[in-house]
């Protein structure tokens, strides 16, 4: 029972942190919020017995990325307080509807009596460690992901190149 309640608390905290990240007016606070959200996610991953994923999550998403964001934000100019507050109120007003929507959807889903038997027919589960799985069995996927990263980096470079000329 306590296991379940801890999980519920963690998930609720995750959602609230994510909401705060998106709703807050200042970008600096958003970057910090990103770090906090990722940290909570890492804790959940630890609890789900995937230490490797949790370590990656913590180091990259809660560490490296927020650092890059914060240092970039530090290079930009500050925005005025009043317009910031106005923007904050604006955002709150817009997203108030979201809460209502979430409650409605949740209600609908509950009343739909969806099956909740999440037992999956498991295929052949590899017994090796995740590293072996990633490097030997699924290296196609790994190379694919690297390819995606490379494409993304290439695209950003081109955008940046353009802005230099412009």
């Amino acid at each position: 029972m306590t296991e379940n309640s801890i999980n519920i608390v963690l998930v609720a905290a995750l959602v609230l942190a994510a909401l705060w990240t998106v709703m807050t007016a200042r970008t600096l606070r958003s970057a910090i919020g990103l770090a906090i959200t990722s940290a909570i996610l890492a804790i959940i991953m630890f609890r789900l017995a995937s230490p490797l994923a949790a370590v990656f999550e913590l180091s990259v998403c809660a560490g490296l990325i927020p650092v890059i964001f914060i240092s970039t934000i530090g290079l930009t100019a500050r925005v005025e307080e009043e317009s910031m507050a106005a923007k904050q109120r604006e955002k709150l007003r817009k997203y108030a509807a979201l809460l209502v929507l979430v409650l409605v959807v949740a209600g609908v889903l509950v009343t739909m009596h969806l099956p909740n038997d999440f037992a999956a027919p498991q295929g052949p589960v590899p017994t090796e460690s995740p590293q072996v799985v990633m490097w030997d069995l699924r290296h196609v996927d790994l190379i694919g992901q690297i390819g995606v990263l490379a494409a993304g980096a290439f695209g950003v470079v081109i955008l940046v190149k353009v802005s230099k000329r412009a």
């Binding site: 498991q122 996927d141 190379i143 494409a151 290439f154 190149k161 353009v162 000329r165």
Partner: protein, 485 residues
């Protein structure tokens, strides 16, 4: 050597971005156009034993590629659309060749991604190549760094992120169930899953992700901003082929040969397809900007393809794939025409345009052909594909005795008329009609060969496809997706 379809664009990208290759950079667009044309020609004319030669990628990276009938059609479409986009690039960025070379690099990344997507045989690689294509699309849209371009790119990015989440989640579940990612293994695992909730979630999630990528209602929010705010060659590419490959090809591939045949999925596809047809057409009627109108028209036409896909019979699939091919051709043609208009007048706002027919006769003619083909007027190609879809719907309705099929068929026919309506209205407003006062014709009076050539080629293809369609359908080898998977 199917690898070449992936490796050659990669080599070209590298070549273009080496430090001292200004000579090549000047001719980047030409290079890309030739590459795409070579791809189209190869697809049509390649001997089969060349296709099945041993592959480097398979040996080194264990990335298995295979060319099926459907892949052939898609490669031809990709080649045609890319060629059109490259030709338009040549004229659009005529002042700064380096910038143009950068744009062409992005086009080549997109080409790489699309070729890979239609050739791979496992699901994760499919996802990877779809992502590569999407990333290049983001940057292509935002290339000019204007506010509305950035906005369009961000919208696409965000919605694409939603799609990514759905697709990755489903991929994880499928890996769990099947232990492998290739099509055959997943097909087996799903077939033996006996309706487990996890399997349903996986299929549903993946399909939703693909629907977002394909731009169907209600997942279409990004389409308008992306198509209309992007520079002209990017619109040609996006509307012509990117949406098709990322969303529709994947759905066709999965629905016909991976996921088990399922009435519920078919119903969902048919309903969303019909709704897309209606919403796209109704919204297109009101538009006053050429590119926005064509964007909504794309949503409508993709609806036809998905409607055919959802019908489930081989005839319907054949119609859907044929319509996919036709849509590539005539939508690219229409966007090339809008690029020509934009180059000539500096705007695509129809309330400010008028009577360009005499100044741009070739564009006028090809625009009429494309409009008639989109609307499904015989003897152009669009007529045949729409006819197949409607006939298949009718047959299925008769066989299964359900009235919904007839309703869908009626919707398809009725909105063909509406399609004709708004396209002819576009034609009238832009090419005929009265000349408004403050319209100045910029630029060279002589039409650029770089725009005329793709216009001619695409128009010829749609006309030829229409005239030869009965022959193609009889031989059928081009279109039937079942068989050589």
């Amino acid at each position: 050597m199917l690898d070449w379809l992936i490796l050659v664009p990669l080599a070209a990208i590298i070549l273009l971005n080496l430090p001292w290759s200004d000579f090549i950079r000047r001719r980047a667009a030409v290079l890309a156009a030739l590459l795409a044309a070579a791809q189209a020609a190869m697809v049509v004319a390649a001997p089969s034993e060349w296709v099945s030669r041993a592959s480097i990628l398979a040996q080194t990276l264990h990335l298995h590629l295979a060319m099926t009938g459907l892949s052939r059609v898609m490669l031809l479409c990709i080649g045609l659309a890319m060629m059109a986009a490259a030709c338009v690039t040549q004229v659009m960025f005529s002042d700064d060749f380096r910038r143009r070379a950068n744009f062409v690099s992005l086009l080549l990344v997109s080409l790489l991604g699309m070729n890979g997507a239609v050739l791979v045989t496992d699901l994760f690689s499919l996802y990877v190549f779809i992502e590569v294509t999407s990333i290049s699309s983001f940057v292509l849209i935002a290339f000019t760094l204007e506010k509305k371009s950035l906005e369009g790119a961000i919208k696409y990015l965000i919605l694409s992120a939603v799609a990514t989440v759905l697709m990755l989640g489903s991929l994880a579940l499928l890996l769990l169930m099947a232990g492998t990612m290739d099509f055959a293994g997943i097909k087996e695992a799903l077939a033996s899953s006996n309706g487990a909730l996890v399997a349903k979630l996986a299929i549903g999630g993946f399909v939703c992700g693909l629907l977002i990528k394909g731009g169907l209602v209600p997942f279409h929010g990004w389409v308008l901003g992306a198509y209309s705010a992007s520079p002209a060659p990017a619109s040609v590419l996006l509307a012509g082929i990117v949406t098709k490959v990322c969303g529709i090809y994947a759905m066709i591939r999965l629905a016909t040969s991976v996921f088990p045949p399922n009435a519920a999925v078919n119903q969902v596809l048919m309903l969303l397809g019909a709704v897309s047809i209606v919403v796209g057409a109704v919204l297109a009627l009101r538009q006053t900007d050429m590119k926005r109108l064509l964007a909504y028209s794309s949503i409508s036409q993709v609806g036809y393809i998905v409607l055919g896909l959802g019908c489930g019979t081989p005839l319907a699939w054949a119609g859907a794939i044929f319509h996919l091919f036709n849509h590539t051709v005539f939508k690219s043609l229409l966007f090339v025409n809008s690029a020509a208009v934009e180059r000539r007048t500096g705007t695509t706002d129809m309330s400010r345009l008028g009577q360009l027919g005499s100044a741009m006769p070739l564009t006028n003619l090809t625009s009429v052909l494309a409009a008639l083909s989109t609307a499904g007027i015989p003897p152009l190609a669009g007529f045949w594909s729409k006819l197949l879809i409607i006939l298949a719907l009718w047959q299925a309705g008769v066989k299964q005795g359900q009235a919904m099929y007839f309703v869908y068929a009626a919707v398809a026919v009725l909105f063909s008329v509406v399609t004709l309506g708004y396209l002819l209205s576009l034609q009238r407003k832009v090419f005929f009609g009265k000349t408004p006062e403050n319209l100045e014709l910029l630029g060279a009076a002589k039409p650029s060969g770089w725009i005329s050539t793709p216009e001619l080629i695409l128009a010829a293809v749609t006309l030829a496809a229409g005239l030869l369609a009965p022959l193609l359908l009889l031989t059928g080898s081009f279109l039937v997706p079942t068989g050589s998977f």
